[in-house]
């Protein structure tokens, strides 16, 4: 991110608006697009729903959170020219969702640390490229400790080795044994393929920001045990199925389906990562990543609607961890990175679907990434006592 020189001598004069104005413009255009394209209602025009307010916290309630590690910009998604890339979200999900047009991430714009911030409700400052636990309690720890849930009830499916510590913090009041169980599908695959001799290093690439570096993890036996004992998959079956899939995020969704059928956890957190191929600078691959992610989100929603354990009692929350640099910011290189810290890189959206959620409503007031955990706490009935954010009132 060494952008001082560009910011000083190259961006000069191009930044007409203060960033908060740009953030507002971003959310306004997103809102206007959604109102016209999807016929959604502006949330501020509605009274609070007595149904939503009266909804009781049920122990049968389930929550699934999907984050995109690798934000997608409005112009490639929720904008007239980007609509074609997200047919699943536009047609299947949005009409049934509450949509927040302005989710601001004021933290570090690296995918692991941003996901950790989403999961703790605190802007974490841990090393983005090291396999370290978050410093503050995670949402999984709050959930399990407060509600006395077993470890089998909270799961994370995450894209890369660096995420293996995302499930629980090293906070002294929580920490070891209180968090979520974490599955790294690519690592499972590596374990299953061990000795196979195939050239799949590229597939196992840990992240697109630093494509040459992969933190090493634990033992292969544990991964194979996860496959066989929990997901009820033999290494052979898993390997065979993996060969029919086109991307790591498809592999993640395959694992999620298995998890839903075999374990049916009440709290499931999935982080997708295909979009982040944008760091390689090939626009067509970035667009492919968006289209695939859109398809996978719609598929996941269909699974949640049809699986008996989930149907009618599951709330799905979808949000990118942050955005990407604007074309107009000379300090960046457009879609390729998220290094400038400008409004486009910091501002994204949140889509929520579920039985207690208003359908087809847009909210354009600003909320923060750190509001997610307190909101989940209010939905599920636990106290996120160390989180910095506040519950999103329209959802609780």
């Amino acid at each position: 991110m060494t952008k001082l020189r560009q910011a000083c001598t190259y961006t000069a004069g191009l930044l007409v608006h203060p960033d908060h104005d740009i953030a507002f413009l971003l959310s306004s255009s997103r809102r206007e697009f959604l109102r016209s394209a999807a016929g959604l209602t502006l949330g501020s025009a509605l009274l609070r729903s007595p149904l939503a307010r009266a909804a009781k916290i049920s122990t049968k309630k389930k929550v699934v959170v999907v984050t995109f590690g690798g934000g997608a910009r409005d112009q490639e998604t929720f904008a007239p020219e980007g609509e074609e890339n997200i047919p699943g979200m536009m047609r299947e999900m949005l009409p049934r969702a509450s949509f927040f047009t302005q989710v601001v991430n004021r933290g570090i714009l690296g995918h692991y640390v941003a996901t950790a911030s989403l999961a703790t409700g605190v802007y974490e400052t841990i090393n983005n490229f090291a396999a370290l636990p978050p410093a503050n309690p995670t949402v999984f720890e709050y959930y399990r400790k407060d509600l006395k849930r077993p470890s089998s009830d909270a799961w994370v499916v995450a894209p890369s080795n660096g995420f293996n510590r995302i499930g629980e913090s090293n906070h002294r009041s929580y920490g070891e044994g209180m968090g979520a169980r974490v599955i790294l599908p690519k690592y499972l695959l590596k374990a299953a393929m061990s000795g196979g001799g195939a050239d799949y290093d590229h597939l196992l690439r840990d992240n697109y920001e630093n494509p040459y570096y992969t933190p090493e993890l634990g033992n292969r036996e544990f991964e194979l045990q996860q496959l066989e004992m929990i997901l009820k998959l033999s290494a052979d079956d898993f390997r065979s199925h993996a060969k029919t899939l086109s991307s790591p995020d498809e592999l993640s969704l395959y694992i999620v389906r298995q998890l839903i059928r075999q374990v049916a956890p009440s709290f499931l957190w999935i982080t997708m990562h295909d979009i982040d191929v944008a760091h390689a600078g090939a626009y067509s691959l970035y667009i492919e990543g968006i289209r695939r992610t859109d398809r996978l989100c719609a598929e996941l929603w269909r699974v949640l609607e049809t699986e008996p354990e989930y149907s009618g009692k599951t709330t799905l929350l979808v949000l990118p961890d942050f955005g990407r640099d604007a074309d107009e910011d000379a300090g960046g290189n457009g879609f390729q990175h998220h290094r400038t810290g400008d409004a486009a890189a910091r501002t994204t959206w949140l889509m929520v679907i579920g039985p207690d959620v208003r359908e087809g409503v847009i909210y354009d007031r600003a909320v923060e990434s750190t509001d997610l955990v307190p909101t989940l706490g209010a939905m599920l009935g636990f106290s996120a006592s160390f989180a910095q954010g506040r519950p999103i009132s329209e959802l609780v």
Binding site: M1, T2, K3, L4, R5, Q6, A7, C8, T9, Y10, T11, A12, G13, L14, L15, D19, R106, G107, I108, L109, Y123, F129, A130, M193, G197, A198, D199, Y200, H202, E209, N210, Y212, Y213, R239, A242, K243, T244, L245, S246, S247, E250, L251, V277, H279, A280, G281, A282, Y283, S284, L285, I287, D327, E328, A330, N333, G334, F335, Q336, G341, D342
Partner: protein, 401 residues
């Protein structure tokens, strides 16, 4: 060390010309906050490898800093002065390793949530500098040319969607000898307005025959360097304790000789090419990324009068199932994906050109190679318009420039 402690001996490791410049400006440097000065030194220490336009801009900036009164320094740099630095940063060797300092400063700003404050300070300084140091207008209007879609037989979609609002779409341009005509026009500009590093030809593949007056770089010519760089990266990441930040620092310090390059008469260009590979993301793998990033950096740094960028097909990104099967190591090309990449790349080429002086008179042309589709932008060209006029590319350039 802090800036007020700077002395002439502090710069003894700098090259002679750079040391002279630094010593002349010590009084100005001493007044600057540490959150700012190393970024200036990072540019200065590379002075010997800067393009002429960069040297002019840097000297003008130094002169501007020297002319400020103490009160003006306080005002212009207040935002930087309010940035809180760590003792580690203050104690680092920022004079001799300013690039490493800036890297560490970047991480510090993110983790201490001071990035936004820094951004505001940088923007304020940039505005101040722009007001004081007006860049010279170019001697002739700049001309940017992007050639996209090499190898694509047909394309049914709509091209140039982002650029159309700014110019005219020509649907019946004769494609015959198109690349030759464009290169001849670029060479003619180079001959009529000979400026060092003023006229560039960047090719994402094998360069076509071109006039020697052009500054030319190509993806294919850099293949040995790319291969050596990737080998170096792989050997570095095998070392115990190596992480992404360490790797990045090592890459930033690489010199051409580290990758087996012999010294050439044009060390400025050689260093520029190396930086495209060591500082660019994806430039080592995808030719479309290389072409776009090379154009961006050439525009930002050399500020050319003429720039022709020809995108070539990049290697295809293999899907997961193909990687698992590992049937073939032979890279295949993705011509259609490369067209989409290049279309966006052309848009970025235009945006980057418009950031330079004389933007109101600049001209830009993007051609779908070996096809009839061209989009032209310039002060004499109507916006958001379509034209069925028949012409060859040489004629179209006459209309444009």
């Amino acid at each position: 060390m802090l800036p007020p402690e700077l002395k002439s001996e502090t710069f003894r490791a700098y090259s002679p010309e750079v040391r002279k410049l630094a010593v002349e400006n010590i009084p100005a440097f001493r007044r600057l906050p540490l959150s700012f000065l190393p970024s200036l030194l990072r540019e200065l220490i590379e002075y010997d490898y800067k393009f002429p336009a960069e040297r002019v801009a840097l000297r003008a900036e130094l002169a501007s800093l020297g002319s400020l009164s103490n009160g003006e320094v306080d005002e212009v740099f207040r935002g930087f002065s309010e940035i809180k630095l760590s003792p580690q940063l203050e104690g680092s060797d920022w004079v001799n390793s300013p690039a490493q300092f800036v890297e560490q400063l970047s991480a510090h700003l993110w983790t201490t949530h001071q990035l936004d404050a820094f951004r505001i300070a940088a923007t304020k300084y940039g505005d101040h500098l722009s007001a004081l140091v007006r860049p010279e207008p170019p001697p002739i209007p700049r001309l940017g040319i992007s050639v996209i879609g090499q190898g694509v037989v047909s394309f049914d979609g709509s091209l140039f969607r982002k650029l159309r609002p700014h110019g005219t779409f020509f649907s019946r341009i004769k494609p015959e000898n198109g690349l030759s005509l464009l290169l001849e026009a670029v060479a003619a500009r180079a001959k009529s307005h000979p400026v060092p590093y003023g006229h560039w030809y960047i090719d994402g593949g094998e360069p076509a025959s071109h006039d020697s007056t052009l500054t030319c770089i190509s993806y294919s010519a850099l293949e040995p360097t790319r291969t050596a760089l990737l080998a170096r990266i792989h050997s570095e990441i095998e070392r115990p304790g190596m992480g992404p930040e360490g790797l990045r620092s090592i890459m930033a310090q690489l010199r051409p000789s580290d990758l087996g390059k012999q010294a050439t008469v044009d060390e400025v260009l050689q260093r520029f090419q190396l930086k495209l590979l060591t500082e660019g993301s994806g430039t080592q793998i995808f030719s479309t990324t290389f072409a776009q990033w090379a154009a961006r950096e050439a525009l930002r740094r050399a500020q050319p009068l003429t720039l022709l960028v020809r995108f070539a097909p990049r290697q295809r990104q293999k899907a997961m199932n193909e990687l698992l099967s590992a049937n073939s190591n032979q890279p295949e090309l993705d011509v259609m994906g490369s067209l989409i990449d290049a279309e966006m790349g052309a848009y970025y080429n235009w945006l980057d050109q418009q950031r330079l002086s004389g933007a109101e008179k600049s001209c830009f042309l993007v051609w779908f190679e070996n096809h009839q589709s061209v989009l032209a932008i310039g002060p004499s060209i109507p916006r958001q318009t379509e034209s069925g006029s028949e012409a060859d590319l040489a004629r179209l350039l006459e209309w444009l420039v």
